[in-house]
């Protein structure tokens, strides 16, 4: 049975921002796009789901294991790929694998080698010399080497050139074929057009849309999403417009 990640009423309160109760379910083997403008709460949500941020209400359950009760067990099954993760910058990818990998139950140095070869990571180069794209790919190798069930990616394609972005999205497809679930945050909806199975849209800390990829193909829904992404239209206006259109058709 495929693993399932359940986000149950996750919320967090800051002085000037609140992540309102978020509920959704992710399935292993599928890619879910988490979209929203900067400041919508995407990074906050990903940090909570990955176990980096422990001060939140609600719970995250993976294969029946609660993040609140057993964060270590959840971290064995979830990986965060983010610019924020530092690793040992003065060490090579191999050294990082040797130092950090041993704390994961399913760590496989062999798998780490295979993925590094596949993603063309220079094994002997220190990490600080890596470009942003290379760092993201290295983190993916690390995640795959401990046979993670879910990979959470925080804006992985931001700053990539179009060619590299295409390659990266192809890599994600390979990962999904291995049965790993991906939750990828982005503010570039174009990235999700071809590969996402589900879409989550966050706006001002609130989950507004939890739908299938087809939502992006539906003109009206796409307009709503674009509205959120560009902040030109309000939901009320779009719903009204949608209603007007239906009336016209009728």
């Amino acid at each position: 049975m495929a693993a399932v990640l359940e986000c149950v009423g996750v919320e967090k309160q800051y002085k000037d921002f609140a992540l309102k109760p978020v509920n959704f379910v992710l399935e292993a083997g599928y890619l879910t796009g988490l979209i929203g403008i900067n400041g919508a709460g995407k990074t906050t949500l990903l940090n909570i789901l990955s176990g980096l941020d422990r001060k939140f209400s609600g719970d995250v359950i993976i294969g029946g294991i609660s993040l609140k009760r057993n964060p270590s067990a959840v971290k064995q099954r979830v990986s965060l790929v983010s610019e924020r993760i530092t690793f040992f910058l003065d060490k090579t990818p191999l050294e990082n694998g040797q130092i950090l990998g041993k704390y994961f139950d399913n760590w496989s140095m062999e798998e780490f080698y295979v993925w590094m070869d596949r993603l063309e990571i220079p094994k002997g180069k220190q990490i600080y010399q890596f470009s942003k794209g290379m760092k993201m790919k290295f983190q993916l190798c690390f995640a795959m080497a401990h046979r993670t069930e879910f990979i959470l990616m925080d804006e992985p394609t931001a700053g990539f050139d179009p060619v590299f972005r295409r390659d990266f999205l192809r890599i994600l497809q390979d990962i999904m074929e291995k049965g790993t679930g991906i939750l990828m945050s982005t503010h570039i909806t174009g990235d999700l057009d071809n590969i996402a199975d589900y879409i989550l849209l966050l706006d001002h800390g609130e989950l507004k849309i939890n739908d299938t990829r087809e939502a992006l193909e539906d003109k009206v829904k796409r307009e709503i999403i674009q509205g959120y992404m560009e902040k030109r239209l309000h939901i009320g206006e779009l719903l009204k417009r949608n209603g007007d259109r239906k009336n016209d058709i009728l």
């Binding site: 980096l52 964060p71 067990a73 993760i85």
Partner: protein, 174 residues
């Protein structure tokens, strides 16, 4: 347990050399002070009630501070690209808990200071009894050892609190 062993392996033997180096310097200082005090006792200037050599000396305290500063730096910080980086942050993606990380580091730090204290007590009595020093106050010594142990606890708490506040600051900033 694995993390504790890994940390011990990572910091190597330098800290042990530092502890024994400080103990040796303190031993030499104590030895020369004991000999000069003994000369005074047997000289004409000595009066009743003076001449006791304190265990809890500036040397002991200074050594303690140096060991704490060194261990704290070695266990919690690394130099990366010319900048100081907070080491526990590097392990945040692993399933290790903060409790495991801090627990291992505290254990190593406290072990080093305990070794230092035991060696210092041993050296103190070795020098004084070996020299047949005439003015010894065992009751006062016990109080001094307790004071030194309290100082160890205060230093340990101070450094751990400092590291934890730094960690929270880094967390907030990121």
């Amino acid at each position: 347990m694995t993390y504790y062993k890994d940390e011990k392996k990572r910091i190597g033997v330098t800290y042990k050399l530092l502890v024994f180096g400080i103990v040796f310097i303190n031993l030499v200082n104590l030895m020369s002070f004991t000999v000069s005090s003994k000369i005074n006792i047997y000289g004409s200037s000595w009066s009743e009630g003076t001449g006791a050599i304190p265990f809890f000396s500036n040397d002991l305290l200074g050594g303690m501070v140096i060991i704490f500063l060194y261990m704290n730096h070695k266990l919690f910080w690394i130099n990366e690209q010319g900048e100081k980086a907070f080491l526990p942050k590097k392990y945040e993606i692993t399933p290790l808990t903060l409790k495991e990380i801090y627990g291992a580091k505290i254990r190593i730090m406290v072990n080093a200071v305990i070794v230092y204290m035991i060696c210092s007590v041993g050296c103190y009595y070795f020098v004084l009894l070996g020299n047949r020093y005439p003015v010894m106050d065992f009751g006062k010594n016990i109080i001094e050892i307790a004071e030194a142990a309290l100082a160890v606890a205060v230093f340990a708490l101070f450094f751990l609190l400092y590291d934890f506040i730094t960690y929270l600051g880094i967390e907030r900033a990121s």
